[in-house]
Symmetry: C2
């Protein structure tokens, strides 16, 4: 238990994005004073990739006005690049004096981060400077701010771990010079599988250092793949609708299956489909962040790391689930990623469960996604955008089999 | 043993700096075709801090012309910011097709990295983007280039390790879900003590990833504190002289003691002087890099990490050594750093010893530094620049006792 006053004011960096937007609404609905900083880079990337959200997301000022009409609560928005404008960020922190900062302001697609050398450099430059600027500005402000960061399960790597993945720290035994066996907790040895995941591994070390040197209170959430679109708050008004990405770069595996099913295309599985991944529904994401806000680490605590996921599935099993519900066929195509073909992945998520998280399961929720999103908006989908075309190395061929030419 | 042709062409990033310059000359003298990229940022920082090298270093074109006169060998120089100009870097790599790239192009002072929020951000931005740009450009070039990077012993941390520090990797024992004990090699858990050291910890993860995904051949040298000024090549002509930094930011502990002794000032020890650090002479630095060039990892090898240091000393013992040789008094002042007051530090450096390194020891070399550098140039020293004024946190007072006011 902390002895501080409960937090009132929360600054959300990247509050216009897929997780940031519903989080901002959820926290606002709970009575927190929410402030968004966002440079709208995700909307700019849509232009660049010639894609768009399947759901008709509104400009940020329309969204915020709708929220004010619906809830009576105002969320101010600052247009600012957190990675590039340190002084601007510091000024906002000094002026707003937030109790909590939630940091979503990172480029969050692995395929996008591998798409070209320029985008590798962009992802590293943007993500590392954004995280470091926030840490440095909190220290310079002198305020006691709890920083909550959205990391990824991918920092653990999807390799050959024969153990349940712990929450951030691993107890190891080492032998000293005198032959003594010593146990110590270390950060779980990272093993990222893309430039994007690598940036989240770097973030961990930034947190380790600033926590040690400046005693910052930091919560790092290692999140699984988020599925689902609506939350209770985004459903309150059509203008509040959340993003739904289905393209080969930003669309996660389940979303791509749903759209393929809706347009009558086979579900394209990369490689054997034996890749096991962790998942969480967007409604649980916003609930987890609420729990993280309500349970901050105390001054002097090490970085609090929690695994923000509720279940694991093999990609192949997901395809079979969607296939059963929709009658779609499954098509196996080349894997554009460099990763183990098959992996086990057992994850400990006791910290959130112990704080009261009640997971929404895929089995319950997928049918709703199919009827409420995929079928409803299928007519707007540009199916030429579904195949994943980024490859992990120059030697690989992209999985271009995904859409037969006659369908494009 | 590698089956490739021996390297001929070497690109040195940061080849105008304290380690980069003598390395470039040494490799050129051995017959390698050396090319320097340097944006001269270290000279710019001299202007900013109103300091200068105690030794009269020449402009880079004067240095390079002198080397051509002395050796008959030309070293081309490209003025380029490796961290900011990815395209320029790639173009040079494509044009020059080096066999080896040696990467010194990072801000390398811990106190400078802690001097202000702006300089923390500069250090992170410069060092991470420089390292990532090099890695990304090597991949994009498609060339099989061996990358050698100058890291620091500081990635291990100067904490409470009860073991001999291994060369990069630590064997640990973990328990699997079935209760089986498994041994595996992990990167030694990092524990950096400044923003500068933190950037070198981040670099390690960049290497881990690019080695895994793109099979890059990488050698990471964890270097101790470098002392000494001259190498065989820099002594060949006065215009080739190397830097000697004695200010509170860039001057390492031994250099500050030497100048204090030369001007008749007490040797200022931070804290108890119980801090143990690793050291290496600049002549051994250039020899180690030669050995790294001659012993590259093979394709498919993990990152080769070697500890580039030859001896360890407590700061207090160094002060006593200089005091014995010069008659100077020792003055204990507040420690501006946040670090353990005392530490043990045993380091394994078998890899370089096994490749033929014959260390120059402090006991032999310090007297020469006193007579050849400190006494010779003492008249040029600005003693107001000697105190270390950067502090690690806002709570600390700088060690301002270092120079009594009447002497400034």
């Amino acid at each position: 238990m902390t002895s501080m006053l409960p937090p009132r004011k929360i600054l959300v960096l990247g509050g216009d994005g897929f997780c940031g937007w519903p989080t901002s609404l959820h926290l606002s609905s709970l009575g927190y004073d929410v402030i968004i900083i966002d440079n709208l880079s995700r909307r700019q990337i849509d232009h660049e990739l010639e894609t768009s959200s399947l759901t008709p997301i509104q400009p940020i000022d329309v969204r915020l006005k709708a929220w004010e009409e619906v809830s009576g609560r105002r969320i101010p928005h600052y247009l600012l690049n957190v990675a590039e404008d340190y002084s601007g960020l510091l000024e906002i922190i000094r002026q707003e004096e937030p109790d909590v900062i939630i940091h979503f302001a990172e480029q969050r697609s692995a395929p996008y981060s591998m798409k070209s050398p320029r985008l590798k450099c962009y992802t590293v430059n943007n993500n590392i400077n954004a995280t470091h600027n926030v840490l440095c500005a909190i220290v310079e402000s002198g305020l006691d701010i709890h920083l909550i960061h959205l990391g990824t399960m991918g920092v653990y790597g999807y390799g050959t771990a024969k153990m349940q993945i712990p929450e951030g720290y691993l107890e190891v035994e080492v032998t000293t010079e005198t032959g003594e066996k010593v146990h110590q907790d270390i950060l779980y040895p990272t093993n990222p599988d893309s430039v994007y995941h690598m940036t989240k591994s770097l973030d961990q070390l930034l947190f380790l250092y600033y926590n040690k040197n400046d005693k910052l209170r930091i919560t790092d959430l290692h999140q699984g793949i988020v599925w689902g679109t609506h939350t209770r708050e985004t459903l309150l008004d059509e203008r509040l609708v959340n993003r739904f990405d289905y393209d080969g770069d930003y669309g996660t595996v389940l979303n791509r299956f749903l759209i393929q099913a809706a347009v009558g295309h086979p579900l394209t599985v990369h490689g054997t489909g034996g890749q096991t991944r962790a998942f969480i529904h967007i409604q649980d994401t916003v609930r987890c962040i609420q729990l993280a806000v309500e349970h901050p680490p105390e001054a002097g605590d090490r970085v609090l790391i929690m695994n923000q996921m509720t279940e694991t599935h093999r990609v192949k099993d997901l395809a079979e689930l969607v296939s059963r519900l929709t009658g779609s066929e499954i098509l196996y195509v080349a894997n554009p990623r460099q990763e183990p073909a098959e992996n086990e992945f057992h994850v400990n998520n006791n910290l959130f469960l112990s704080k009261g998280l009640l997971p929404t399961t895929l089995n319950e929720g997928v049918m709703l996604e199919i009827s409420e999103i995929a079928k409803k908006y299928a007519g707007f989908a540009d199916i030429s955008k579904i195949p994943a075309t980024s490859t992990w190395t120059r030697r690989q061929e992209p999985g271009v089999l995904a859409i037969p030419e006659e369908m494009v």
